[in-house]
Subunit: 174 residues, 3 copies
């Protein structure tokens, strides 16, 4: 089962978006974006794009809409907290057809065991067409920990979005 | 306490709706509906209706609205995933006055221990008038596991919807 | 770390609102309000207001809007269940700019270990300006247990709302 998952996910394309005012101005190195891309590649995803955008809702929405046409999985890092400039969840909700609450519930429950403050992440996960968009926190540790907590769900979710529902019924899950 | 819960729930009526294109066309036996009804009966609910409908939002809404007038608890099975034809949560939201997020949070957390893919269920639980509507996944195992995870909450919830709030205050819970 | 948290939270103001028809009419002593205020004071918050209002959405909204100008943290107790008169979550949603789902997810997960019926709480946590509004259940035990489950998050959340995001990045959390 785990080997077939890895083979399957090898086919899936992914894009990573770093949301950060300072990184977009070149004032701060983007460490989280490459870290997230590394975790995805290790799980068999093919990274087709990496972008850095400021914490502006419209910029985030535009890049998410654009990238979800090019990649089956679009992962953001940054802008999920409660500070006034944190607008990644709002931008993601705006471009998604539907949300998948259980994915972020698990993300917060799992990463909350290591970092209690993970409960303050307002990250969402949603579907846009046949692509999945997933928000991660901005720090390198928070982003990779959160991604690890749900990465096993992602290939299966992308198969379901392809209309491959037989698989899901066999797994007895959704 | 547990014996009084069983006695109380004996008074509650329940309806089960299987949401499935193939079962509604008679191409596939409905196994989940009877399985869910069996679990409810064992817990003291009186099954007053069982229906099978296709994965069409309007059909689901109509049957939920109709059944919530006849039964205090309406349980659906199927159509909660993320595939394009999964619209049971949307139909349920459309007919409910308010949602009870904690019920499905617990459902996903508990069944996620056995089946990680349970996180992909978009099931909702909501109130319509004095009735409770609860979505379950479509597979027999997923549906019964998910129902077992929250079945102890249901009689108490139905008492609260009757305006019996004293009980809840004694339990110190809501 | 824990000592610095206590020092920091010492600066934060808090208000407590008891939502209860019977207490607002003087027919029932308000036990939960003082209990909640006691827990907050022990954690270093400065209580600047305590109010009792009936289970009326407009009354609750008005008091929340008023108090969030006077206190950084506004905590309610009562009216979070599913009974017809429970409207505190609706009132809170109406006055908040954004919700912080992870805080109430943790609250329900933690207090659900002691009181399974905590899953029926529809409590929300949200941001209004630079203040945080948090709903707790109505019973003294439910309210204090729920508050204890998330109280360590509150000073950090209030710092983030002040725009102090560097701290959060160091913690690698949001």
């Amino acid at each position: 089962m785990s080997s077939s998952t890895i083979e399957t996910s090898a086919a899936f394309t992914a894009a990573v978006v770093t949301v950060s005012d300072s990184s977009s101005r070149g004032e701060r190195a983007d460490i989280s974006g490459p870290a997230v891309a590394g975790v995805l590649e290790k799980s068999g995803f093919k990274i087709v794009a990496r972008e850095v955008v400021p914490d502006e809702q419209e910029s985030i929405q535009n890049i998410l809409a654009h990238l979800s046409d090019k990649a089956r999985l679009v992962v953001t890092t940054g802008g999920t907290g409660i500070a006034p400039r944190d607008v990644t969840p709002e931008a993601t909700r705006a471009v998604c057809d539907r949300l998948v609450e259980g994915v972020v519930e698990r993300m917060r429950a799992e990463s909350g065991k290591k970092s209690p403050m993970a409960a303050l992440s307002r990250a969402v996960c949603g579907v846009r067409g046949k692509s999945l968009i997933l928000n991660l926190p901005g720090s390198p540790a928070g982003a990779t920990e959160s991604l690890q907590a749900v990465i096993d769900l992602l290939p299966h979710a992308l198969e379901l979005l392809d209309g491959n529902t037989r698989h899901s019924q066999k797994l007895g899950s959704t």
